[in-house]
């Protein structure tokens, strides 16, 4: 859906989406990295199960919530992608570490 502006110099950053290997660019937020990888929805809401995707990209709407390295409900647009990050789309309510 989204296409990057050409920026050949950017460093590649490997990470995983739901366990699958993926790649994005240094400086991407987690939300941007998901969109660049064609992820259409990143979570289902906890009560009605409606699908959601990153929307405002500036920390306001909370639609971009994902699980990052095992911690749920993190705002993907507010977290910078790091090499090796485990990003998981989130189905409903976050975990509580039981």
């Amino acid at each position: 859906m989204f296409q990057r502006l050409p920026n050949a110099a950017a460093e590649r950053v490997p990470f995983t989406i739901d366990g699958r290997p993926a790649e994005a660019q240094a400086g991407d937020s987690v939300a941007a990295a998901l969109l660049a990888n064609g992820v259409q929805t990143c979570r289902a809401t906890p009560v009605s199960g409606a699908p959601r995707a990153p929307y405002c990209m500036m920390g306001v709407c909370f639609d971009c919530l994902v699980t990052i390295d095992g911690v749920g409900n993190r705002q993907g647009c507010q977290v910078r992608l790091e090499p090796g990050m485990r990003v998981e789309t989130q189905d409903g309510k976050r975990e509580i570490g039981l």
Partner: protein, 376 residues
């Protein structure tokens, strides 16, 4: 929002919070023609900010009749919730898994045990089961308690609901049964006239044969207009709500409970308020810290909202129900546990108001108990 002038009702209920709504709902069920006069959205109302417990244990030390009244309401809640669901399609998520009240030291647990024993030793008090669990027994029930938890009291009669949905269901039910709900109609004055009442609001005057004062904090001002007395004061309570998380806790555990939708609510001390007057925890960080000591797994959760609301508290913490001696069609109803007692207000109190007389069993709840001379 039509003009009210000239309208006549069997009963005018003043206040559309939990107490007024439940009572009006019960009156309408009995075929009474009811007007419910309420303020607008800016009103001070604990009915929109409470903790949603239907709670029995520990209530009634100093007034055994209150223990019985509370138990009766909790026992009526299953039927009450079913009636609301059948009428409105709204599920208020009432669940009665039993409640724990945790103690963070042996001394706290001992004090709790003694307090419950004193309560249950009162002559004439209603009988029901409760238990004191030590740490090992409590861990069988709640494996994820923190190392500081010494034990808990447990009562199978305790439960909880979704209290915002309760208020919504009541209002949907009121509409369904033809009650004239009028928001933005603060009652300024009430006058007893010709065996009935005239209620003056900013939007016109209403006439009614009977009047029920359920205006929360404003009952103080309204009650003397019809020969009643409502010595209540506000008592602030705080609540914290976390983000929604997978279900891990079905039981209400004192001031911690997980809602049907997954958020965890953390409040300050809510029950035994009659004994705890003066004890104000008040500070959000203190209640959060205590909650994390009880359930360390709450620690990483994000808080999404905190708020404070004002309880409507009588001097001894017990409800006031009273019929005016000078204007006998006027009734007063106020309490600090409007969720717990909603079933009673709808199913037990409303029929007496419809009949026009509070029976003798309500004498104990009269505000006359506060009129004892200071130096008797």
């Amino acid at each position: 929002m039509s003009d009210l002038s000239g309208s006549e009702y069997d009963v005018a209920v003043v206040g559309g919070g939990l107490v007024g709504s439940a009572t009006a709902w019960g009156l309408a069920r009995l075929g009474q023609k009811v007007a419910l006069l309420d303020e607008g959205d800016v009103a001070v109302r604990p009915s929109r900010g409470n903790f949603a417990l239907v709670w029995v244990q520990g209530k009634g030390l100093g007034m055994p009749e209150y223990a019985g009244w509370t138990k009766r309401s909790a026992d009526g809640w299953t039927e009450f919730a079913a009636l609301l669901r059948d009428q409105t399609g709204i599920d208020v998520a009432y669940d009665r898994p039993g409640g724990f009240f945790p103690a963070l030291s042996e001394a706290e647990l001992e004090a709790r045990a003694q307090q419950l024993q004193r309560l249950h030793n009162q002559p004439g008090v209603v009988r029901y089961d409760y238990e004191i669990l030590d740490r090992a027994a409590l861990r069988q029930e709640l494996p994820f308690i923190g190392p500081d938890v010494a034990g808990a009291s447990y009562c199978p009669l305790d439960g909880h609901c979704n209290s915002l949905r309760l208020l919504r269901a009541l209002h949907a039910g009121l509409q369904h049964s033809g009650v004239a709900y009028r928001p933005n109609r603060r009652v300024e004055r009430i006058e007893a006239r010709d065996g009935g009442f005239r209620l003056a609001t900013g939007g016109g005057e209403v006439g009614a044969g009977k009047v029920v004062l359920a205006a929360g904090h404003d009952n103080i001002r309204l009650a003397p207009m019809v020969g009643l007395d409502a010595p209540v004061r506000p008592e602030r309570g705080h609540i914290i709500v976390t983000e929604k998380t997978i279900p891990f806790l079905r039981h209400p555990v004192g001031f911690i409970r997980q809602t049907d939708e997954g958020g965890v609510m953390i409040g300050d001390s809510f029950e035994d308020a009659g004994l705890d007057v003066g004890v104000r925890v008040g500070v959000v960080s203190t209640i959060a810290e205590r909650a994390v000591r009880i359930f360390p797994l709450l620690g990483p959760l994000n808080v999404v909202r905190t708020w404070a609301a004002q309880r409507v508290m009588s001097r001894d913490g017990f409800p006031i129900y009273e019929q005016s001696a000078t204007a006998p069609g006027a009734f007063l109803a106020t309490c600090h546990s409007g969720v717990t007692l909603a079933a009673n207000h709808a199913l037990a109190l409303a029929p007496h108001i419809a009949a026009g007389r509070l029976p003798q069993e309500f004498d104990v709840f009269s505000a006359r108990r506060f009129h004892v001379p200071e130096a008797a």
